[in-house]
Symmetry: C2
């Protein structure tokens, strides 16, 4: 795919890329699209030179040792700050994702250090729109996942996770499905969109070197759901905030 620019028709880019690859997506496929290209197409970029940090951003920036203007942008995306220590700022975003820096990223926006890229405003809506546009163009709408790489509690290394989804259930519920011997399973729900996001992330790599989307074939997945928001644990049920 060509480098995506703000205002680009991402569905058209993806359709053309599928064509060039000789692929016709079906409703049994999952098209995983990198957050970065979604954010760029949707113009979710900010020039830090236009940002004036609030007193709160300046206070937090001193703790986490980051640019106060960057912290101001992060706070504009944040519902609540979960952890703030030198070098680390973990928040719950307005969408409910728990991640470092509200997903705001310095890299790959352009040649100028002052530009940052934000998460899409509503990645579930983006996934739905991409799915519908590809379905209109080709007659068959694949499931669509928007993925990003997030750090985790307890384990080093970021892994691919879904931040948007359409045409696929976020979590597969195995409760009541008997195992080989007819008893309940220990693992009762599976974060299937996140496993797909992680698998696609392996293919994409992390350095945006030209794999902005991955078509996954042959995976079994549930169909019903309201998007990646379904994977978010309600804060009141979360034991690790």
């Amino acid at each position: 795919m060509p480098a995506v620019q703000p205002g680009d028709d991402l569905a058209a880019h993806l359709g053309a890329a599928l064509d060039r690859a000789g692929l016709v997506a079906t409703r049994d496929d999952v098209l995983v699209v990198a957050q970065k290209v979604v954010s760029k197409a949707e113009g979710r970029v900010v020039d830090l030179r236009t940002v004036t940090p609030s007193a709160e951003a300046a206070r937090l920036a001193a703790i986490v040792e980051k640019d106060p203007r960057l912290v101001e942008v992060i706070l504009s995306e944040t519902a609540s700050v979960l952890r703030a220590v030198p070098g680390v700022l973990v928040v719950e975003t307005r969408l409910g994702f728990v991640c470092a820096n509200a997903g705001v990223d310095h890299s790959n926006v352009g040649p100028d250090e002052s530009w940052v890229v934000l998460l899409p405003e509503d990645p579930d809506a983006t996934a739905r729109a991409l799915r519908e546009a590809i379905g209109r163009a080709t007659g068959a709408a694949p499931a669509v996942i928007v993925n990003d790489s997030h750090g985790r509690a307890w384990r080093e290394g970021a892994v691919g996770v879904a931040i948007g989804a359409a045409g696929i259930g976020a979590v597969e519920d195995l409760r009541g499905r008997p195992d080989l011997f007819g008893r309940a399973l220990r693992v009762t729900t599976v974060g299937v969109i996140d496993e797909l996001a992680a698998a696609a992330s392996l293919v994409m790599g992390q350095a945006d070197e030209g794999v902005p989307a991955v078509l996954v074939r042959g995976a079994a997945f549930p169909r019903a759901g309201d998007g990646a928001r379904d994977v978010l644990r309600a804060p009141a049920q979360d034991l690790f905030r």
Copy 2:
């Protein structure tokens, strides 16, 4: 593969399964093996009828509303209890993994409800042994990952993670690798063994219906490392315990 029994030669089972599939593993492949079959082959099963719960197990069992004998087995695998509320017992295992019930599982051990299966005693050692045995038999040793499904903070649904590894680095370090525009990346380390474990988990499913191992081809992965233990964040560095 046939159903694995305690004492079975798992490397021989895996080699025969690869043969039947017409696959010759290479050192660029990753063989992902389900924890359940490793644990069974290594005889890591306990009959709860032989277990006498301690006073501490009985006390904790009343809180989490589980069988005191099961809690006794869980505590025998536990370094520290992180959370204990009705229905949920999250611990750090003696190996350092943070997971529900120390990975002790009721399902699929045999037709009798009283048997439970524990995590392998040293899954990194298991991965090394499987890798060496397959290498001896075939002349080419693939990387080996032992995977399991663990729940997560913040997100619903268990996902595949690595609990043992050999011939592969646990975490890919991208720090200092420039992005398209030459700047530092937001994502600086990637939990590559966990992304591979999640991808394999998609293929395995959760109900042990006959996919105990997956051969992953075409993935780029780092070679150097000391096993899945490298993915564990040091408790002192972990902000979410």
